[in-house]
């Protein structure tokens, strides 16, 4: 009898300890920084709030600027809808992807998820389509720029709403202090890419041992390299998709011309050493704010990150836009970060109401874009006076934005960009592969990703 009681107690204790070991939701990220600008009081009324008490969880990746904006959005929405409570939980970037991958099959993901639009096609089976009364595809395509909304529409169904225009093409951080030291005219007024390369050449610093300490034009990180390559193809009149959009065509004269231009920037203009400046060494976002780059090719999202991450950087700096390779500045862009709703959410109507409030309402979207330093996904917001005042680099890009189109639904976007295009283009620039070898490899491997 005693033995039975002891064994039973042991089993109960074990069950309790195993239950305690179940992963619990991580605590929300500390939000002791003050919220960013509040939405204006003139925000148009949203759908009538649901009366019952609603508690929603929202997940996002950790980016201090982004999350300050989210906290402000949530605070404003809760003020208008007192029965709704939204808890924001944030994760380090790589951990966020893993969290989505493990939580979604288990049905334990948050009600509202921040999702990168270009990933939507991979997760579509695990997302709730946007109800027609929230927004139809036609309405969304009318409201947002083409590139941001493109990724959130999968097989004609709208799965999310974008909050930013993720522009990796065309923008560069400019070190004004280095410009002044080199005696160059600031702000730069580049009519052509050669004008830019002229400036970049003057900004290069090489030590006595022949090591490049400062890159004049650092374009050899993964995102700018890949997206400038794709833009170069488009601007030269080509395309990287086959005519029926079922495969890739990278081994083309336009692709070759673009890669040869990049090679000349490295070998003839000598504005960057791609062995010393790439994703793994001297990544552009860090190297610029460490004073190792004159012109750093990176998306505008790096501006807010730089301000927060490098508050002691003493050089003066600004942001400028590159001329096109040739002709019209056609370019492609990812669908950037936006909001989607889980099909397991018990209050989908409220969740979609918040997503629409945050992303599709210009008066709410504006403060978030200001706080996060991102380009608005809504043209009306991008053209606003506040954006022109607080983010003049966006105002300078207004003519560029309509030339953007969505990257396209690749079978595995991350693999195509980061494991196929970027490595082979970099190897060509580093002299390990020839231009033809690089393009053949990109074409073969990218098409194999459809299998």
């Amino acid at each position: 009898m005693k033995r039975t009681i002891c064994l039973s107690l042991l089993v109960v204790l074990l069950i309790l300890s195993v239950a305690a070991c179940r992963p619990t939701e991580p605590p929300p990220a500390p939000t002791d920084t003050p919220p960013a600008a509040q939405p204006t009081k003139e925000a148009p009324p949203t759908e009538p709030p649901v009366v019952e008490k609603v508690s929603l969880r929202m997940w996002a990746h950790q980016n201090e600027a982004f999350n300050q904006g989210y906290e402000a959005l949530i605070g404003a929405y809760e003020a208008e809808n007192p029965n709704v409570q939204i808890t924001l939980e944030t994760f380090e970037y790589d951990l966020y992807i893993q969290t989505l991958q493990t939580a979604m099959p288990a049905g334990e993901e948050a009600d509202i998820l921040q999702l990168f639009g270009s990933w939507t096609s991979e997760y579509a089976e695990r997302l709730a389509p946007a109800p027609e009364d929230v927004m139809s595809v036609a309405e969304a395509e009318d409201l947002f720029y083409a590139a941001p909304i493109g990724g959130f529409v999968v097989d004609g169904v709208l799965y999310g709403l974008p909050q930013e225009f993720n522009l990796e093409y065309g923008g560069v951080l400019v070190n004004k202090s280095k410009y002044d030291a080199a005696g160059l005219t600031f702000p730069p007024a580049w009519a052509t890419r050669d004008d830019m390369l002229n400036d970049a050449q003057a900004l290069v610093e090489i030590d006595d041992a022949g090591v490049m300490n400062v890159a004049g034009f650092h374009f050899t990180s993964s995102d700018p390299l890949a997206f400038d390559f794709l833009a170069g193809i488009r601007q030269r009149g080509g395309d990287y998709w086959t005519a029926d959009q079922t495969g890739f065509a990278f081994n083309t004269p336009e692709a070759k011309a673009t890669l040869e231009w990049m090679l000349s920037a490295v070998n003839e203009w000598k504005v960057v050493d791609p062995v010393l400046f790439n994703d793994e060494e001297n990544w552009v976002g860090d190297a610029f704010f460490e004073g190792r780059v004159g012109l750093g090719y990176i998306g505008t999202w790096a501006i807010a990150e730089g301000r927060v991450g490098y508050p002691d950087f003493e050089d003066e700096w600004d942001y400028a836009w590159l001329p096109s390779h040739e002709g019209s500045p056609l370019f492609v862009a990812d669908s950037g970060w936006g909001l989607v709703v889980s099909p397991n959410c018990d209050h989908k109507k409220v969740a979609w109401d918040f997503a629409k409030y945050a992303a599709a309402n210009p008066d709410s979207a504006l403060p978030w874009n200001l706080a996060s330093g991102t380009i608005p996904a809504i043209p009306e917001v991008a053209q606003s006076g506040e954006i022109a005042k607080e983010m003049p680099w966006v105002a300078a890009a207004l003519d560029l934005l309509p030339h953007g189109s969505y990257l396209g639904s690749m079978p595995d976007r991350d693999q195509v960009i980061y494991e196929i295009i970027y490595p082979h283009v970099l190897l060509a620039l580093q002299g390990v592969e020839t231009v033809d070898e690089a393009l053949e490899a990109i074409d073969a491997e990218a098409n194999a990703s459809f299998e």
């Binding site: 033995r3 195993v18 090591v211 062995v275 991350d414 494991e419």
Partner: protein, 325 residues
């Protein structure tokens, strides 16, 4: 009286047996239940390797298997051998890099730790303790911290190693980012990572060898000296053979941990340049958590287990001893 004594003895033994039984059950039941959790996850990984599974796809009704996560049988293993896809080629690259890493680390580790242990063992006991503590400190350092520190040392512009090279009039090296630089056919970046790994790891084997050296009876060495052996002969003909069981243990443990290297490579090079330092565990991580190819990643993990098991068995066969002292 004798009968009562015998009966009470039987009851005592029976009581002891019962207590022993209770203790065994109280220890083994929780251990078995805990192990069964691990068996469940291993079993799930074993199932996944036969499917083209991604957690982003809903798949069939039973655990998400089937449907958009189709059963592929042994296709993953076939692709590993002769597949032409990017992930198949990256697997073969990772396998080659892992073998290079493991088979370079082991002899270098032994070449450093064994003589160093013998040297430390030969000094006074007060100094011995201090040396042991100092050499063990890197083992206690977090591997991410080690990787970041060595990353700064290898920095091509501001790192210590290139500063020394500059002082000596040489050309600085892009230790971690030059895909063309090679020594003995192995990428310089791989040697750089091996160097960092050895620094972080050698202290562990060192203390094991020191303890083993201390356990060897001095009579064997004294007898060799009496027979005319010099210090080198004593070390190679007496000490090393007597250390064979310890060498076996160190070899097995070092190989296993070398095959599992991940964090130091991910932080220092993330598998670059040009996948020259991409190892199997990093390949598993990227496939599973970056590109959501859980089925393929599970298959690679299974192959890794088989390789480690095979190498461990070979080592145990080659280095086993049938004597004790």
């Amino acid at each position: 009286m004798r009968q009562r004594t015998l009966s009470s003895a039987k009851r005592q033994r029976s009581g002891l047996e019962v207590a022993k039984g209770r203790f065994v059950l109280s220890v083994t039941i929780p251990a078995v239940l805990y192990a069964s959790i691990g068996l469940f996850t291993l079993g799930w990984a074993f199932v996944l390797m036969f499917f083209k599974y991604s957690p982003g796809r809903a798949g069939g009704p039973f655990l998400g298997l089937g449907g958009s996560n189709p059963f592929v049988g042994l296709k993953h293993f076939g692709d590993m051998i002769d597949g032409t896809s990017l992930q198949a080629r990256l697997f073969r690259t990772s396998l080659g890099n892992t073998l290079i890493f493991a088979f370079a680390v082991l002899p270098l580790n032994l070449a450093i730790t064994l003589p160093l242990a013998a040297l430390i063992e030969s000094v006074r006991s007060r100094l011995k303790t201090g040396y042991r503590a100092v050499y063990f400190l890197p083992v206690l350092t977090a591997s991410v911290g080690v990787a970041m520190m060595w990353g700064y040392l290898y920095d091509p512009q501001a790192g210590l190693f290139n500063a020394i090279i500059r002082q000596l009039g040489g050309t600085p090296i892009a230790w971690l980012s030059d895909p063309r630089a090679e020594v003995l056919g192995v990428s310089v970046s791989m040697w750089a990572v091996i160097g960092a790994y050895l620094w972080a790891d050698y202290g562990f084997n060192l203390v094991i060898f020191i303890a083993a050296l201390q356990s060897i009876p001095s009579t064997f060495r004294e007898a060799a000296v009496v027979d005319g052996a010099n210090a080198w002969q004593v070390f190679t003909r007496v000490t090393i053979p007597l250390l064979r069981p310890t060498i076996l243990f160190v070899c097995v443990m070092t190989m296993i941990s070398s095959f599992q290297v991940f964090d130091i490579i991910q932080v220092m090079t993330d598998g670059g340049p040009n996948n020259r330092t991409r190892v199997l565990v990093l390949d598993i991580y990227k496939n599973a958590f970056r590109y959501q190819r859980m089925g393929w990643a599970s298959a690679i993990a299974f192959v890794l287990v088989l390789i480690v098991m095979a190498i461990t068995i070979v080592q145990m066969r080659l280095l086993r001893t049938e004597w004790e002292y």
